[in-house]
């Protein structure tokens, strides 16, 4: 009864029953997304502080932000041991998620650090 049925607390998503569709545990996917979000936010803040200390102004700072985000993405992919599909359902999640929210944090801490170091 309980041993043979496929029900479990981790909610599963699946498509049509005709083809062999991949099911995955959405609860674990959510946990992985949370980990990515925390990592990206912390790296955005760190990148902002570094950009402020360096004294970047204007466009160069945004270039620096995308550089930091690329390094973070590479780090996250390395953390997933390069087999992204066993932890996420698509590449977009690990590369693009949290990019715009991180931009806000980056600009905030960039102006903050720049003000502290260069103006006051």
């Amino acid at each position: 009864m309980a041993g043979h049925s496929d029900s479990s607390s981790s909610e599963k998503k699946s498509g049509e029953a005709m083809t062999d569709v991949p099911t995955f545990s959405a609860e674990n996917l959510q946990n992985n997304m949370k980990v990515i979000y925390y990592s990206r936010t912390f790296m955005s803040i760190t990148g902002g502080v570094i950009a402020g200390i360096f004294g970047f102004t204007g466009f160069v700072g945004f270039i620096f932000y995308f550089l930091v985000m690329t390094i973070t993405s590479i780090g996250l992919i390395a953390k997933a041991k390069f087999s992204v599909h066993s932890y996420f359902d698509s590449w977009n999640r690990i590369i693009l998620d949290g990019l715009m929210g991180g931009l806000m944090s980056f600009v905030l801490f960039w102006t903050f650090a720049y003000d502290i170091v260069h103006i006051f």
Binding site: S25, F42, T46, I50, T72
Partner: protein
């Protein structure tokens, strides 16, 4: 988690020390009336070191990735939520004598 946290705190301390050094450097430049073109080399090295520490902490502290395949090794044990609907109280333990009676007989 503990080690990653300490490394992260260390990275933040290094970054704040680099900020303080840059503030002092700017004060020095004001006295000598020169333009600020970039932080000195040792500050750049400190920033790089702090950045590396922070990257390491950002990747280790938030937690591990869990596999999403339902048939992978670490997903084999599934547990129902601790919900009242699934709790069973009508089981064999009612055949045991009550705890109070056992203590009194002792």
């Amino acid at each position: 988690m503990g080690l990653g946290f300490i490394v992260g705190v260390f990275g933040v301390l290094i970054l704040s020390h680099a900020a303080y050094s840059t503030i002092q450097y700017r004060g020095l430049l004001k006295i000598m009336e020169e333009e600020f073109s970039g932080p000195p080399m040792n500050v750049v090295l400190e920033l790089l070191l702090g950045f590396v520490f922070c990257i390491w902490a950002a990747l280790t502290v938030p937690g591990n990735f869990h596999s999403i395949h339902p048939d992978s090794e670490e997903n084999r044990i599934v547990s129902l939520s601790a919900n009242l609907d699934f709790m069973i109280f009508n089981h064999r333990a009612k055949a045991f004598p009550l705890e109070i009676e056992m203590k009194l007989k002792h």
